[in-house]
Amino acid sequence: MTPLSALLLRDIRLATRAGGSAALALAFFAAVAVLVPLGVGADLRLLARVAAGVLWVAAVLAALLALDRLFQADFEDGSLDLIALSPVSLEGVAAAKIAAHWLTTGLPLTLLSPLLGLMFGLPPGAIGALALSLAIGTPSVSALGAIGAALTLPVRRGGLILPLLVLPLLAPAVIFGAGAVEAALDGLANGALLLLAAFSVATTLLAPFAAAAAVRLNLAG
């Protein structure tokens, strides 16, 4: 097993076992989605209109919830220092951690979304678009979130400042992701999915470098 796949497996194990963040993020996602119909009323036509936006925002928030521990936990117990001392590049480490975060939050959220879309009264075509847009878009949430998590490494309450840093950067993902579902709802063809894919690819490629630079500066000295 290569060091990076070992790290990936370790992070997945940590996230899925007791006290891990994967199940909590899923529960948070579902809880927010359940709260919305209680707030705006049970009219299924109205819910179908707002479903895409609500589920996308809930998914982004749920994924952010698990982020502040991404590097922080390893930073606090010293394992991040050891990982940084190992011959593996920090860029690779950041990429493995982003992948682990997506596999334990973005992917389960995507798999749960058709059920919630059904409860919100979305037609089958729009449900497909929702799951597809989440599958394409959530890697960018993990990627940009990892940069935020690395930047706020020395901050004691990093979880509070992280959303302020990351949410403005994630606006395109929400716009294109929800836009793709709305286009499917109206039976229109539009390029939102392609733009979302472009955004996702660009951020996922850039993020390991930016996150590694941030980890490096916070470990130095």
Binding site: L144, G158, L164, L165, A171, L217, G221
Partner: protein, 237 residues
């Protein structure tokens, strides 16, 4: 430019310059306001068109402020110039204020013209994001105690946020929107009559000079503050 990157040299060079900058800003703003208030009412918008002289330059200056912040962040990351980090830090609150000014004057103009204080279109939303980027930058600076670390972390964040600038600039071309399209810097010349263009230009110059004045003052204050802190630490030791 790098000659001025020395804090001491910057203090010496900027001191005699400051009154001139401030005076020029006051002159341009004064002349722009007088010309603007004396300009005729627009045939469609009536007197509310005068809000343009406050709104448009505020938005331009806010974008310039973030651009300069990102540029300084780049310099501080790549060449590790301490003054560049100070300059970036000093630009953020100013940028946030000009962004807020642009949003508020825009709302005041939007209410009589569009019938709504706020609409969720590309230009307005991306400009609101600019405010949050500025606030996030300031928050990150304040959250990290170690100054060098804070400077570099904030610089990385500033560069990521710079992607938003072209989005703001081209938002009126990309999306159908209530906000007016590009009407000044366009091929084929400006779409605005000279009687409005002159006060607008003067106000833009005034806002820019005002920003430069306040920026210089803030950089000087920050340098002096750090010097005081260093002296206090040396005295305590």
């Amino acid at each position: 430019m790098f000659a001025l990157a020395n804090p001491k040299r910057f203090l010496d060079a900027s001191a005699p310059l400051l009154p001139w900058l401030a005076g020029a800003a006051a002159l341009a703003l004064g002349a722009g306001l007088v010309l603007g208030l004396r300009s005729p009412p627009d045939y469609q918008q009536g007197d509310t068109v005068k809000i343009m002289f406050l709104h448009v330059p505020a938005a331009w200056t806010a974008m310039m402020a973030y651009g300069l912040l990102a540029l300084c962040s780049f310099f501080s990351l790549v060449w590790r110039h301490p003054l560049a980090a100070v300059a970036a830090k000093a630009a953020a609150p100013l940028g946030a204020m000009f962004t807020l000014l642009g949003l508020v004057t825009g709302a005041l103009w939007g209410r009589p013209m569009w019938g709504a204080w706020w609409v969720w279109d590309g230009r307005l939303t991306s400009f609101l994001l600019l405010l949050f980027l500025n606030l996030g930058y300031i928050a990150l600076w304040n959250a990290i105690e170690d100054e060098t670390r804070a400077a570099r972390a904030a610089a990385i964040l500033a560069l990521l946020g710079a992607v938003n600038l072209p989005v703001i600039e081209f938002s009126v071309d990309w999306w159908t929107t209530l906000h007016q399209g590009e009407s000044i810097l366009r091929s084929g010349g400006p779409l605005i009559a000279p009687v409005f263009l002159w006060p607008l230009g003067l106000m833009a110059l005034g806002y820019t000079l005002l920003f430069l004045t306040l920026w210089t003052v803030r950089i000087r204050t920050e340098i002096l503050e750090r010097r005081v802190r260093a002296l206090l630490l040396a005295g305590a030791a």
